[in-house]
Every structure is written in structure tokens, then in C-alpha cells.
Symmetry: C2
Subunit: 236 residues, 2 copies
DNA sequence: GGACCTGCTGTCAGATTCTGGCAGTAGCGA
DNA sequence: TCGCTACTGCCAGAATCTGACAGCAGGTCC
């Protein structure tokens, strides 16, 4: 196995273990001496991988992905840049910042002439009709990633407010509004919630008992089935 | 210089020369023997780089970018995936396909568990309100990249039609419509054209005499200047 | 056809890099 | 204190890379 391939492997092994792992263990899993492992870790850190080592504990990788060298066509890069620019204009500030960071990382590794092309890329995204949401969608995305319950106040189309505790598993971006899809504990059914009608969002930290992928699949099946509508807007 | 760094260099050198380059020349530019160069080319091709060699001519790199190993955080990947999905739903079919291809390439290099996450990524893009355009925006993007003139028929807001020859340099994606920004030869000024009002698009193949980056800069300066509006919609 | 340019492959000795083991320093927690 | 860990310097052997040479195949030009 080549060294570069081994480095990618190392990141993936670190990704699997969420808890700190000792260098000895990692070296064992990769079939390599511990001295070499330290060298590999140093190389990865030099390449910008967020690996942290603490004496007495082991190594942890901050959540993320390591991409190997990739080749993209002009059109593919244009698509990625345009898409990221669109995200960067979304009202969700953390996601927008992440999009900007991703673009910056890509730009940083390109040679000058290509970076100029990217800076001046002639695909522009128009300004959004702002539809300010009172809540921080970053909290919703974090709750989805961690599969944890969310509490909030919801005001339905009629204006009636209700307190909700839900299991969020998806977030949809429409032209105008953002919609959270979740299992509602109170109603015992799938519901979707417009972000601009939510308030008092609180991350409970309580893990919900299902996998978000499974819920997503079930919800999609409900959408496809004839005569049903999957989730209805949370008015009931 | 490490081998991996040299491989990236090789791609960049190939990118600079648009015409076919002989292996001997490339080897000279990199300070390496021709035998090693052949090995490097083979390695790059093995990694998926679209390099083509023809006996008697030399090597050509299909237009594209080579990205070195990159580390992205969870949020950055989510931003890229969401953005690409949005692009993939645009009516511009070639760009949409490119977005899908880029996503597929990224997915292909991820380990299984991460790919599942990506497939089921819980950030969805809602369907677009379709606003069918009669023209192929791919032609417009190609003309912008190659800095070549475009001819077409434009129907303005009042319904009056006019034949246009323009120097396109940007394409903007708004919520509903796509707008081409160009220098209009007839009017001798910047104009913008809504894609759904264009028809009979023809790529002339004639190169226009300015750099698109310069025009973009000038146009932007016009936007920022107080009391002006940069380009007006092509009604005049 | 013949001269010439190019891509491409095999082989092999020497240069270069990588690797593993050893020794030693330092931080953290019990 | 002890045990566990991260981390560094050193060096000989292993693995890999590199350059040079020889040779084949495919195109271009005269």
C-alpha cells in the first residue's frame, strides 16, 4: 500500500473511532510501527487535517472529511462554485460561513491563474428576498446530525401557537422558505415546520430513539405513496 | 520536492499549455528525466486525470482542475452538497449534470459509511417553479468561457423584438430567472438579458476583443457607483 | 518508402525516501 | 510515585523512485 493511500486510511480509521484512540492502537490497525504512525500523523497535520493528540489520552479527529486528489472538469467546478455561492447567500449564517470557508479552501490550493478564474467566475447568484427567520438554523442542523430532540414554539397558518417536541431529520430549502421535517412526539406523526414560524428553539440534548436515515426513508416512502401526502404542515 | 507535489505541478503545467506538449518539454520544465515523466503521467491517469497522449503530437489535458487532498468540516461538506443539489435542480441541463457528476465523484472516494451519510444528507432542495427557457444556457456558458460573441433574438418587456450581437461575460441566477450580462455591440453599452426572453441563440465563434474579467470588473464598478445602475434591462 | 518525431514499455543499478527499533523528554491522570 | 500517553532524534535496513539505455508502435513530412 502506498503511503498516500495509507494516510487516507488513517483519517478514515480516526473518523470511525469517535473517542480518543492511542497511537499504538492506530498503528496496530494499519499494520505499521508506532514510529511511522507518528510520522504519518505529523504529515496529515501538515496538510491541514484537524487531528489533535493529547498525552495520556490519544488522538481525536475533529468531525470532517478528507478528500483524496480529485479531478474536476470546468463545468463541475463551475457547478460547485455556483452552488456554494448560493449557499453562502442563505440566511442560515453558519451554513453560509461554511460555504464561504469551503470555497476559500478550494481557492487556496489552486494556482494563481485558476484562482483568478474562480474569483471572477462569471456565474453569479442574485440577492435573496430576505425572509428573516427568528431562529438559528445551525441548531436545527446540529440536532439532525446528532439525532437529538428539539423543543420550540410553533405558530401555524391560522396563527394558533403550540409547544412542540420533535425528532428532526431533514431540512428542505425552497425558493422562499426553509422547512424542517420531523417526527412530532405530540401528534405521533411526521410533520413539517416552516422555519419562519418557529420560535424559542431549544436543543434538549436528549437523543431520540430512531436513526435519522430510517425516518427519512420512511417519510419519503410516504411521499411517493399515492393518495397520501407524507407529512402535513404542522397545523394539527 | 516530493513526488505528489510534482504530480500536481505537472497538471498545472499541462493546464497552462493549451496546445499539445511533448513529454521532453514537460520533463525539461519539471527538471526530471523523460522516463520519470512517463511514469508520472501514468500515475495521474491512474488517478483519473483526463490526460491524453498521442504519438507524434504530445500530451493534452482536458480542461479541468486537479485538487490536492483536502480536509473539509462536516458543515463545509454539507454546504457543498446542498449547493450542488441546488445546481442539479436548475433548468440548465448541462450545468445540472455537471453538478451531479461532481457529487458522484466526491461520493465515489468516500468510505461507505460517509457515503451513506451523504446520500441521506438531510439537507434537501425543494423543486423549482419551472420557468422554461427556450435556449440552451450551456451555449452561453461556453461562449463566456471562450470569450466569443453571441447572436440572438431578444423580446423586451414591452414585447418588441430585436436582433442582438453581444459580448457575454456573466450569468446570474436569481430565484426565478436567469440573466445574462453582456456588452451589447448595437447599443455600445452594458445590458442584461433575461434568458426566458431570448431565442434563436447562435454561437458565432468570433472572439470578442476584451477580457471577460475586465468587463466584469468594469460592470461591477458601475453597479457600485452612486446614481447609476450599471446595466439596464435590454429594452433600448 | 524513408527520415523523424512522438508515445510507451522493460530492465537494472544507483539515488532517494521510507520504515522500524531504540533511547530519551515531557504532559496528564490516578 | 507509577503508568500511560504524545513526541523527537538517530541510524541501519527495506522499499521505492529515478535516470539511462534499448526497443516497439503510431503518426507526419519529404
Amino acid at each position: 500500500m502506498s503511503r498516500s493511500a495509507r494516510l487516507l486510511d488513517l483519517v478514515q480509521i480516526l473518523h470511525r473511532h469517535r473517542r480518543p484512540v492511542s497511537g499504538r492502537t492506530l498503528a496496530g490497525e494499519m499494520g505499521v510501527s508506532i514510529r511511522t504512525l507518528y510520522r504519518d500523523i505529523a504529515t496529515l497535520q501538515g496538510q491541514g487535517a484537524p487531528i489533535e493528540g493529547e498525552a495520556g489520552l490519544g488522538y481525536v479527529l475533529k468531525p470532517g472529511f478528507m478528500l483524496p486528489p480529485l479531478m474536476f472538469t470546468d463545468e463541475e467546478i463551475e457547478a460547485i462554485v455556483l452552488g456554494s455561492r448560493w449557499v453562502a447567500k442563505q440566511p442560515d449564517k453558519r451554513l453560509a460561513a461554511a460555504a464561504a470557508d469551503a470555497l476559500a479552501k478550494i481557492a487556496a490550493v489552486l494556482p494563481d491563474d485558476l484562482r483568478d478564474d474562480l474569483d471572477a467566475t462569471t456565474l453569479l447568484v442574485g440577492p435573496r428576498s430576505e425572509n428573516a427567520e427568528a431562529i438559528d438554523l445551525g441548531i436545527v442542523r446540529q440536532a439532525i446530525r446528532d439525532e437529538r430532540k428539539l423543543g420550540f414554539l410553533y405558530r401555524d397558518a391560522g396563527g394558533a401557537a403550540s409547544k412542540r417536541l420533535v425528532w428532526p431529520f431533514a431540512l428542505a430549502f425552497f425558493d422562499k422558505v426553509r422547512v424542517m421535517v420531523a417526527w412530532c412526539e405530540t401528534r405521533q406523526d411526521f410533520r413539517h415546520f416552516r422555519a419562519d414560524r418557529m420560535s424559542g428553539l431549544t436543543a434538549t440534548g436528549i437523543r431520540y430513539p430512531r436513526r435519522r436515515q430510517a425516518m427519512l426513508k420512511e417519510w419519503r416512502a410516504g411521499l411517493d405513496a399515492p393518495g397520501r401526502n407524507g407529512a402535513k404542515d404542522a397545523s394539527g
